[in-house]
Symmetry: C2
Subunit: 394 residues, 2 copies
């Protein structure tokens, strides 16, 4: 798929490794309405600080993204380097430097390899074309094992509106307001407040519901550029129906990308949905689901294909949320293994164990205490998770 007015490019700039795509560019030939959400980690990478400042204008034309170096914990020099890269690109593209957004991922605490950016910038801009979206998704990979892209077409305001999204991420994943990196482009004609609001809500229900290891990155961001070339009737405050449709579609794109991240969680062999129902509030349901999803003992049991509901129960109990253990039901898929706080029996456990051999597993926890439900998406904790992370920098 292509979206009118957008072009993309990716090159192997040699930022950290040789002969590996590591520098990507997403470009809109007109200023696009652009919104972003960013990491809540107090330690913010240079590109995050710069983008938050530039996005006050609600417009952008280019996203320059690199892997191999996070440009985080790099101080004044890191900010200077980031500004040099956006200036290099702005000059080539003949646009205002403030219209360039930056994004980086990779090792924390090292300075950007500016020489590599300088040498590659010409080739990067010359390479702009309509078919490189997947290559950019590949250029932002670090420990990811596959590029993550999604596209959608919907009719909004009488016009066909397109969405293309990409994401990267496999470790240091427990986004809070955003995830590792995700970029979405669309030709929708939408005003900034509606775009920003849609992005925030969609992110809360998608990227903010996944966790691989409970670690929130310093570089998380989701950016959406809407260049308006679909010429649909403007989506603004007077147009709530179109806004809802836009938001639902955006949420669908982000959710699919989020699940791709969990699916590619470092060393993951299982995709697990922890659903908590019957809670007295959404925040309480989410808190319990998140505590279970982050428990190393629960995650290693899934890796071992062990229907170890005792560990789930123990994690629930330390979540800081009041509930009555003697009312709790726990099911793996449609197999109820705990009813009213007690084991159902060996047959149920046998059926649950069989179900654990599948790749996708849903755990349903019913507190029977209220009507609110929430889901958190995660993966198991495998030998490969430890191997990958004991070796990542070496």
């Amino acid at each position: 798929m292509e979206i009118k007015g957008f072009s993309t490019s990716a090159v192997a700039a040699g930022i950290r490794y040789k002969d590996r795509l590591d520098l990507g560019l997403i470009y809109s030939n007109v200023p696009a309405v652009t919104a972003g959400v960013f990491t809540t980690n107090q330690v913010k990478a240079a590109p995050v600080i710069i983008d938050q400042d530039r996005l006050r204008q609600g417009r952008a034309q280019a996203i320059l993204v690199n892997s191999g170096c996070a440009n985080a914990c790099t101080g004044v020099k890191g900010m200077e380097n980031a500004n040099i890269t956006s200036s290099l690109l702005a000059t080539r593209l003949k646009i205002d430097e403030k219209m360039v957004l930056l994004s980086s991922t990779g090792v924390i605490g090292e300075q950007l390899n500016i020489g590599a950016f300088r040498s590659a910038m010409g080739k990067l801009v010359e390479g702009l074309g309509e078919d490189n979206f997947d290559s950019v998704a590949r250029a932002i990979m670090t420990t990811d094992t596959f590029p993550k892209v999604v596209s959608r077409v919907v009719t909004i305001g009488g016009q066909e509106v397109k969405f293309m999204g990409m994401a990267k991420g496999a470790g240091m994943i427990m986004p809070n307001m955003a995830t590792m990196l995700s970029f979405v482009i669309t030709d929708a004609q939408i005003s900034f407040p509606e775009l920003h609001d849609s992005l925030k809500q969609a992110t809360d229900r998608t990227f903010n519901r996944i966790t691989v290891d409970g670690d929130t990155s310093t570089n998380d961001m989701v950016l959406v550029m809407a260049n308006g070339t679909a010429e649909n009737a403007w989506i603004d405050e007077d147009n709530p129906i179109d806004k809802q449709l836009f938001q639902d579609t955006l949420e669908g794109v982000l959710k699919e990308l989020a699940l791709q991240i969990v699916n590619d969680g470092e060393g993951a062999s299982k995709c697990i949905t922890i659903r908590v129902c019957g809670a007295r509030g959404e925040a309480e349901a989410e808190q319990i689901a998140r505590t279970v999803a982050n428990s190393p003992l629960v995650k290693t049991a899934f890796f071992g294909e062990d229907a170890n509901w005792g560990r789930i129960f123990a994690a629930m109990g330390r979540a800081g949320v009041r509930f009555d253990p003697s009312r709790v039901d726990i099911a793996f898929g449609d197999v109820v293994i705990v009813r009213d706080g007690l084991a159902v029996g060996p047959d149920a456990e046998k059926a649950a164990t069989k179900l654990l051999k599948e790749k996708n597993i849903t755990v349903c926890i019913d507190l029977k205490d209220g009507t609110d439900c929430e889901e958190i998406y995660t993966c198991d904790f495998s030998l490969d998770y430890v191997k990958i992370n004991a070796d990542y920098r070496s």
Copy 2:
């Protein structure tokens, strides 16, 4: 060492496995002043509920402890079974059933093997002697690789006062008010309020400062029995100096046991102290230290002997505590690797990497924002952690 008036016994009762010590008894031939602290997990095992009730009287004579079954998430039947075991023991010992405290560790969600208790109780009581303390410490092991015992002698109130402590624990370790299981006996003559207060304070600074995997168990407890046979001047509210000495000694015993637990953390190859200084409050220092200590990415980097301070910085940033990243210093041992938020350089990193080959590692984080310091003790996250926990029930 022996303590007058206390005797101990351990047998292989076959509760879960054959021919493995799994049932232990600590007995005082006079009612001992006894205090306990217990798990804050909302899901509490039957023995925890029973002991909390019985300890209102501040006196006990026996602790009956088993491994192989946690008697947690076992409902009304679990409570009935626990009461049967204490009744069996009380009859044999000819003491009031309320003077028996219970403690269990092992798999969650299974009922106690009451038959094994019945058959073994006679032999257990007949075996009471002064030399079995280490055997009891062995009987309470689950995934522990060594028994954990500590002894101390101090002079309090003109008399030699003895302490003997034991603990078990290797996984599901992030105690909150207590740890897995620990029992301390002493011949000190001390009143209940002073004993309880000393235990609470000592636990807060020792067991509540360790974490293996961030999971708080359903069965955690620390019990201290003081039978007064040392005939020291009573330690009570009129005797603050002796109380301080008692408390310091108890804290020393608990700290050594706590560090033994970290040292035996499931699959652990390193013992790591995370010290946070220069904070604006102890709670803030502890919160940052705990977040770093529980980060799977930090723990796998230690396993990989990688001086990956970027992950430490990223974990600090998501701890929910305000600090200025540009003032932070981070040192591994005496090697400062980050100064004022920036990498010191390759020589420092090389020196730090060398230091990481040691078994005991201290990470010092200075926020330069205040005067408060706290420490958390943890271990690394290894391939064996995953292997042990993927296999534990099978």
